[in-house]
């Protein structure tokens, strides 16, 4: 990135500006916007960041991230809710200490993520995409059919049991917003840091040339499994925050619609750059909010259907016009302005695709 300093400076300036605005947001926007767009956007952005991390640096487009978010949420819900008269009746109602539950839920998700990752570690490209999609669907069917931990109706009241250092988030939504902001910033820094470590560098080597890296003595499967575990950790953070934000968990949070929604967010933002995760999430939620308000209850005019048709068309247009999403458009616009020509082809433009079709 050092070859393009003006661009880096501009991006940093925009980044700092966005951060300042984000900190001041509770003063600037309505409660509805803060809670439904910004807080939810930060949380979904964390989920999308785990997807983009695996895609951009590991060459793995994982559709399991929604499932892992849901697993973290469900684990937390089952561990933390208490058996009180007149209270929640679904789930295990273990009533553990909230801090312990938080740690245990994240560890459990990372553990499951490592198992998922190990099974998928030797699959590449679209094969990997399909396999991870089945993970999410299996997790969805599991929580739906196992009535012991939830079943198809929601487990509610999760947000009432937060650790002391998190505090009351049911009544103080600004608090949840700032917590989400801190976690999002942490995730961003973590991923940026990881990609500069020897592990991150070799992961990118594996993304581009798995065979060559293997013959150089790197254990490809272990690297990819670990990357998947890190992705699961990030997704678990998002899942826990989502459980607090939404307050209840039903299987639909990891259904096919939700899976595609997270993918749409990542694709709108751009599958090649982490920043795109939050950009995509906010853009998605704004579009969702604007359009859903305008659709009559009888469905879209003329063609019928719901918001899904609209977002499907938007998704289709983005994939056709700019497969790298908004961040890709930004990169392209910058290089057009700078050199008056099309962007340079970055090596490894479609690493996973090459790996699978070779």
């Amino acid at each position: 990135m050092t070859h393009d300093t003006a661009k880096v400076v501009t991006e940093r300036a925009i980044g700092v500006g966005a951060l300042v605005l984000a900190v001041l947001a509770p003063l600037l926007v309505s409660d509805f916007w803060l809670n439904s767009i910004l807080t939810q956007g930060l949380i979904l952005g964390i989920g999308a960041a785990s997807l983009i991390f695996l895609s951009a640096y590991g060459g793995m487009i994982s559709l399991a991230q929604t499932g892992l978010m849901g697993i973290a949420g469900y684990a937390l819900a089952n561990m933390v809710t208490q058996r009180v008269p007149g209270g929640e009746t679904k789930g295990l109602l273990l009533g553990w200490d909230p801090t312990l539950s938080l740690v245990a839920a994240i560890l459990l998700t990372v553990g499951i993520g490592l198992v998922f990752g190990a099974v998928a570690s030797r699959s590449f490209g679209i094969y990997f995409l399909m396999l991870t999609l089945t993970y999410t669907v299996i997790a969805f069917l599991f929580v739906g059919s196992v009535t012991l931990i939830g079943g198809f109706s929601p487990v509610a009241g999760v947000d009432a049991y937060t650790p002391g250092f998190i505090g009351d988030i049911v009544n103080d939504r600004d608090r949840l917003y700032f917590i989400s902001l801190i976690v999002a910033a942490f995730v961003y820094v973590l991923i940026r840091y990881l990609t500069r470590t020897p592990f991150g560098i070799s992961l990118q080597g594996i993304r581009d040339e798995p065979v060559r890296m293997a013959s150089l003595g790197y254990n490809v499967a272990v690297h990819r499994t670990l990357a998947f575990g890190i992705g699961a950790f990030v997704a678990a953070l998002g899942g826990v925050l989502y459980a607090w934000w939404f307050g209840q968990l039903s299987p639909t949070i990891m259904g096919l619609d939700a899976t595609i929604q997270l993918l749409v967010i990542a694709v709108i933002g751009g599958l090649r750059r982490i920043e795109g995760a939050w950009l995509g999430a906010i853009a998605f939620l704004v579009i969702n909010n604007e359009i859903t308000n305008r659709i009559p209850s009888s469905g879209l005019p003329v063609i019928g259907g719901t918001f899904n048709t609209v977002i499907g068309v938007i998704f289709l247009v983005i994939v056709i016009v700019s497969p790298d999403g908004l961040m890709g458009l930004w990169d392209r616009a910058w290089s057009l302005a700078k050199r008056g020509g099309p962007p340079r082809e970055t090596p490894g433009a479609q690493p996973a695709a090459e790996a699978s079709s070779s």
Binding site: V119, I126, T134, L141, S145, T147, A214, I303, P323, A353
Partner: protein, 376 residues
Amino acid sequence: MRERVSAWGVGGTVPRIAAAALVVFSILYVLVIAKPPGEFGGGDWRTTNFGSAADDPNAFIATILDGLTFAGLLFIVASGFSLIFGLMRVVNMAHGAFYLLGGYVAYEVQQRMTGSGFGLQSGEVNTLEWVVPWLIAMVCIGVFGLGVQQLLLRWNQGQDLRQALITIAVSVIVADQVIAHFPRTVPAGTQRFGGNAVSLSWPGWTNQFVDLHVAGVSYSLARLVMLGLGVGVGIALWLWLHRTKTGLVIRAGVDDRQMTSAIGINIQTTFAIAFLVGSALAAFGAVVGGSQASIAQGRDGEWLLFSLVVVIIGGMGSLAGAAVGSVLYGLVFSFAVAYLPTTGNECCTQYSVVLTFILMALVLAFRPQGLFGRVG
């Protein structure tokens, strides 16, 4: 790609021994270890609905038949998915949405033909009233799939991830539109909210049980027809791929697309044919599945999962792989429901979906490319 794996890694010695032990234990469990529930309920880890195969051979054979007949249906749907992938390297994520659309189209046609409204009994439907909806649905979905391919997938060949994303977008749009407009005919007194569960009807003559003369088992003829149709599709596809000129070109295209087009064969026509047939098979499966169970909102995701699991197990693009994957998955599916322990309250048959994951994990631990998949 062949890499050294440690004894404990995926594909290493230890997981292989563990996998083999698990398979042996499962087979022994079903054959002899399991026992039927006691008179007063309760039980332990050995208690299953029917006990072991030795206790209740009738239920055992019925379970195998359940698995095999379900496999017939799985194969019809998954072979279309696999055909498209094998030739064009397109993962058609809209396959489930095509299934949903095909099912509703066939349902509407059958309703129009019989004109007897929703409460249609199987006995009132003759063979023609099943075959015509089946044909119309196949043609409609085949042409629809062809349109999608020509419009959205023809100009970006080789970019397989982008194509997968495009078909995901198509699946979102199609599923939403189907739910908005179907079913058009709903039972009297019911409100149409979109995506209502509806059923097609099998022809009347299938609505009976046949005595198989094995351990006194009599079995649903409709389910046997389902298996027969699956086998029929398999034989027809095999003959098509191995005994006709088009099939020859398709197999050549699967092996080496560029060389096939370099020797003057119009590979684009072949792609179009493959997409047409593959999409039509989704509708074929939907008509069979809709007759046996129902067509409803959510079936698209379910059948996308089924197709994915079958081809992940069997290996992408292989007809034999799709067949073996269907049989394995169908058997695991039916045995999970019938032979998981039933100790305590609501345990453990509801965990059957975990076995789907275990089956995939087992196969992939040995062969990351699936049972019949080729490397690279």
